[in-house]
């Protein structure tokens, strides 16, 4: 159980961080100005929110099957493949939430600080401090989505015992075998993880708001 839970968390944490590393700078870029490219990216993010995770899983599996275009990388049925799928699923969520958070904050702040002679580095720090709560919320939401995902995790990981079995896929297998007690215990641990994530989100909210 510990191994399965640890893998669930590890894969989703990596996927969320990679997704954030792309989505947050992207959000900053989108908000910074106006252009066709920016609108397209924002539309992709918003549309990507509705993308079914199984579709992503299938696309990733299809790409990394030995018979697929990237089969030579031999990445399918590994935690890395699962992380890749989860990253794709989570990027639109973090991106959209980050954009919303930026748009609702005061956009004259950067100019105001510049007008007060605040040097560049300090400006960056102060503005980052302002947007951090919104970004943290976006990232935690992304983690929640990643760790709860089952279809893509099954297709890209294969639910292999000791290698790619995570809480969600283990639950499905237990149900498929009719072992409901075991299934419930996996679900309980998953809920526990989500509760911890929610708790972190709540504490940060209170400290910062």
């Amino acid at each position: 159980m510990l191994e399965i839970a640890a893998l669930s968390v590890a894969v989703s944490v990596v996927a969320t961080l990679v997704a954030a590393a792309f989505a947050i700078p992207a959000a900053l870029w989108i908000v910074h100005g106006r252009s066709v490219a920016r609108s397209v990216l924002l539309a992709l993010f918003a549309g990507g929110l509705g993308l079914p995770p199984v579709a992503v899983g299938l696309a990733v599996a299809f790409t990394f099957w030995r018979s697929g275009p990237l089969g030579w990388v031999d990445l399918l049925y590994t935690p890395a493949a699962m992380a890749i799928a989860q990253t794709i699923i989570v990027v639109p969520l973090i991106g959209t939430l980050a954009v919303i958070s930026l748009r609702t904050s005061d956009d004259t702040l950067p100019m105001q600080l510049a007008a007060l002679n605040v040097p560049r580095r300090a400006r960056f720090y102060l503005i980052a401090r302002e947007v951090a709560p919104g970004f943290a919320a976006a990232v935690l939401a992304g983690f929640g989505r990643a760790v709860a995902e089952v279809g893509a995790a099954q297709m890209t990981g294969g639910n292999i015992e000791g290698q790619t079995r995570v809480l969600t896929t283990a639950t499905m297998l237990a149900v498929g075998k009719g072992e409901f007690g075991e299934a419930f215990s996996y679900v309980a641990v998953l809920l526990g993880i989500m509760a911890v994530a929610a708790g972190v989100a709540l504490t940060l909210q209170r400290r910062w708001a």
Binding site: R66, P79, G176
Partner: protein, 276 residues
């Protein structure tokens, strides 16, 4: 901005390194495509680790169902198959996609249904006869409908009985065996199942075995070594090693004793080396 790209690269590297340990060996792992019934009974949880320990190879067990497993072999997405649909397997070998095919084990299918048995199939001489009766009576029957070995067998039985299963009484779940049995149990319907899964689920089901030990209910498993396709990642040697293991004395012994503690009797009968 620059710092975020650096951070990004670092995290991606961290992520990929997370998956490195299993794939750090020069050899690719052995992909075993097999059926959900071998996985659901728990046989693979014993057989595969034993093979890994003996050979030092790493196996990725992908349990998808016979039809999908054969398709994976076709595409070169697997190195070795453990399946149970002789007709489909023979077609697969005829296409030249397999290097060798060997008999491994068998168990039996069982026709199960409600205690009331509205179609009166209890004690039929063959499953074919029972299926004919069910089709005529148009009483509920739950099928897996998922191209698994069990499903393939079921469809062959309908054909042999001269029946075309269609209509509101014929229900397709598209799910694994245990799920399908639970659906049948809820609906008080008939179903075809392998006796291993039925045994393991029996306590939670309201179904009873109605036709057992008939000639046409034998469920035979073979192992097939996939012929690799050119320019693809594959592990032909590993696939062959697995095939040899499951037909070896050690592998056969594991199969012969599996299930005894949990169910009182073994779930499979080892058959390696016997005539088909």
């Amino acid at each position: 901005m620059r710092t975020s790209w650096r951070l990004c690269t670092f995290i991606v590297a961290l992520g990929l390194s997370l998956s490195a340990p299993p794939t750090v060996s020069a050899e690719p792992s052995v992909i075993l495509a097999t059926t959900t019934s071998t996985q659901d009974t728990g046989l693979l949880d014993v057989l595969v680790p034993a093979f890994e320990k003996a050979s030092g190879l790493q196996v990725k067990t992908i349990a998808v169902g016979t039809g999908a497993a054969l398709a994976m072999g076709d595409r070169g997405d697997a190195d070795v198959l453990l399946v149970h649909a002789p007709g489909a397997e023979e077609a697969y070998m005829a296409k030249g996609r397999g290097l060798e095919r060997a008999l491994v084990m068998h168990n039996a299918f069982v026709v199960v249904g409600p205690v009331a048995d509205p179609a009166h199939v209890r004690g039929s001489a063959t499953a074919q006869v029972a299926f004919g009766a069910i089709a005529r009576a148009q009483v509920p029957f739950v099928s897996r409908g998922d191209d698994s070995g069990t499903n393939i067998k079921e469809l062959a039985l309908w054909k042999a009985a001269g029946a075309d299963p269609a209509g509101p009484w014929y229900i397709k779940t598209g799910s694994g065996m245990a799920d399908t049995l639970h659906v049948a149990s809820q609906k008080g319907a008939y179903a075809l199942t392998d006796d291993g899964t039925f045994l393991s689920q029996r306590a939670t089901l309201s179904l009873v075995p109605l036709v057992v030990d008939a000639k046409d209910l034998r469920n035979v498993y073979h192992v097939i070594v996939v012929k690799p396709l050119p320019n693809r990642v594959s592990n032909e040697a590993g696939g062959e090693a697995f095939a040899r293991f499951v037909t070896s004395a050690d592998g056969q012994r594991i199969i012969a004793t599996f299930g005894r503690e949990k169910f009182g009797r073994p779930l499979f009968t080892p058959d390696a080396g016997k005539a088909e």
